[in-house]
Amino acid sequence: MPLTVQRLLVQRRAQAGLLLIALLVAGALLAPIVSPYDPIAQLDLEQRQLLAPSPAHPFGTDLLSRDLLSRVLFGARISLAIAFLSVTVSIVVGTLVGLVAGFAGGALDTLAMRAVDTALAIPRIFLLLVILGLWGAVGVPVLIVILGLTNWFDTSRLVRAEVLSLKQREFVLATRALGVGPTRTLFGHILPNVAAPITVSAALGIGQIVLVEAGLSFLGIGVRKPTPSWGLMIAESQDLMVSAWWTVAFPGLAIVITVIAFSLLGDALQAALDPRTR
């Protein structure tokens, strides 16, 4: 593993990605301390509406006179929390399904993979539209679970494919010859060998889920008002774009930077774990 870490850290894109992620996480964690204002407070509807960026409001203010820098910082909290937690859900579920389906084979495998094929046939946003539409307004915790449970399909395929090839390897035969039970073989011997592709898929998955959450919030069915979510902020301000560009520009840039950071890290991880892709 240390060799992999070394291979990761020598890459410029890994350094850039990790630096950006560190800044974002710091901004998210320290938001209550470093934010100049309360992100939800309407500071002064008469005097401070739609102020252009200035030393007092580096990112300007929105239509309700709220400070955009504070909202973007608190937005990082929401977006990153949703992304980390829902990717954790999807990685755990996807890994379990993939491990069991690949290892057990037979009818169970067929059943699981047909279910995955079905779910993948519906474009993700439509699947989420159906679920979120039918369930109505949901809170952030439920949103995290829904995003996690609609995002594990690719991971399970990836893990299953790895398990299928690992199953044929001699060390698995050796564990069986030594009398190791199937559960221990699966989790003690096969799982560690699948860890690498799972890690890459998680890093890339975080960036993608930030995009999905932003899109849903933009459509008004993700994070609800007045919680500062980047996608929601853009939706609220899109009609003002012409007269107050900053209301749309800064939340958008925050999304772009977050996704770039995780894409860079994911690419670098892939290269570090599989030198052939260089």
Binding site: A121, I122, F126, A214
Partner: protein, 323 residues
């Protein structure tokens, strides 16, 4: 080939059947029933709601409801749109061509730009141009499609006034234009949404194409082509790129779900009267049968797209035909 097609068609039908089943399960797992929204309007009496429930068979046992639902979907009856007061199939049918036009135009941008950029990068690997294009594709790949749409709208629609800011046609002038003028009007309205949707996808294609090209230029047959004295251009395009296109064709099938997901956001930003915007509006109107029907329809489109991609792949790669 016929046998392959029949088996793939059967698989596609099975997937669509399972998608319909999944949406039935989701509908019934959700709180309330399709008539609940009516109850929220104070002027609808409980008797009417009860009558509607009976009319739509919601008082029947679940197994019977399921059979009825599947039979309806199979016959193309996707329910009733309460917001538009007409069958969902009819209302959706009007939107599908718009979404297809947008998706096809975006597909052209996506693969046209993506293959060109990726091939160029692969051919000039690790040059300054390659680095600059790599950075561009990473950025484009990370941009939320709706935000890119807004930025392009602001730039080319609001600031430069080059292109219209929304809709599929000019609301006032379209019906007064000549035949050619109407086509021009439609094309002008299509450019921004298609470019938005296409460029985001192009970034992904370019990354893929670059890797494939990098692999191809290393091969012996490329060296052989150079050795026989062919022009560099011919070596790269006729020999290297032609082989490197093969992996990209497999991407073709994978892009449909992404394209349709992106279309939801792009249609919303540009007011494009397609399936995605219809589904989003339906959520706001609590017109749920439209939402579930649009999921089924997009699943059919994705499955058909995958089938098309498989056939295309067999066509371009002779090795798969005998297998």
């Amino acid at each position: 080939m016929v046998r392959f097609l029949v088996s793939r068609l059967a698989q596609a039908a099975a997937i669509v059947f399972l998608v319909a089943t999944l949406s039935f399960v989701l509908i019934h797992m959700a709180p309330g029933d399709p008539m609940q929204a009516m109850g929220e309007w104070s002027f609808v009496s409980p008797d009417v709601i009860e009558q509607q429930r009976r009319l739509w068979g919601l008082d029947r046992p679940l197994s019977e409801q399921y059979l009825r639902y599947v039979a309806n979907v199979a016959r193309g009856d996707l329910g009733y749109s309460f917001a538009e007061h007409r069958p969902v199939a009819q209302a959706i049918g009007e939107r599908i061509p718009n979404t297809l036009v947008l998706a096809v135009a975006a597909l052209v941008v996506m693969f046209g730009v993506g293959i060109a950029v990726g091939a160029l990068q692969g051919a000039r690997a690790r040059s300054r141009l390659d680095d600059a294009l790599s950075l561009t594709t990473v950025v484009l790949y990370s941009v939320p499609v709706f935000w890119l749409g807004l930025v392009l709208l602001l730039l080319f629609g609001q600031a430069l006034h080059w292109l219209p800011v929304g809709g599929a046609t000019d609301a006032v002038l379209h019906s007064h234009l000549s035949w050619l003028g109407r086509v021009g009007d439609r094309v002008r309205h299509l450019i921004l949404p298609a470019a938005t949707l296409g460029l985001v996808g192009a970034a992904g294609v370019a990354r893929y194409q670059r890797a494939a090209m990098l692999e191809a230029v290393r091969q012996d047959f490329v060296r052989a082509a150079r050795a026989k004295g062919l022009a560099e251009r011919a070596v790269l395009i006729r020999h290297a790129l032609r082989t490197a296109l093969l992996p990209t064709v497999t991407l073709f099938g994978l892009t449909f779900p992404l394209l349709l997901s992106g279309a939801v956001l792009v249609e919303t930003v540009f007011g494009w009267p397609g399936l995605g915007k219809f589904a989003v509006d339906a959520i706001r109107n609590r017109d749920y049968q439209v939402v579930t029907a649009s999921a089924i329809i997009t699943a059919v489109m994705v499955t058909a797209g995958n089938l098309l991609a498989d056939v295309l792949y067999r066509f371009v790669d002779p090795r798969t035909r005998t297998a």
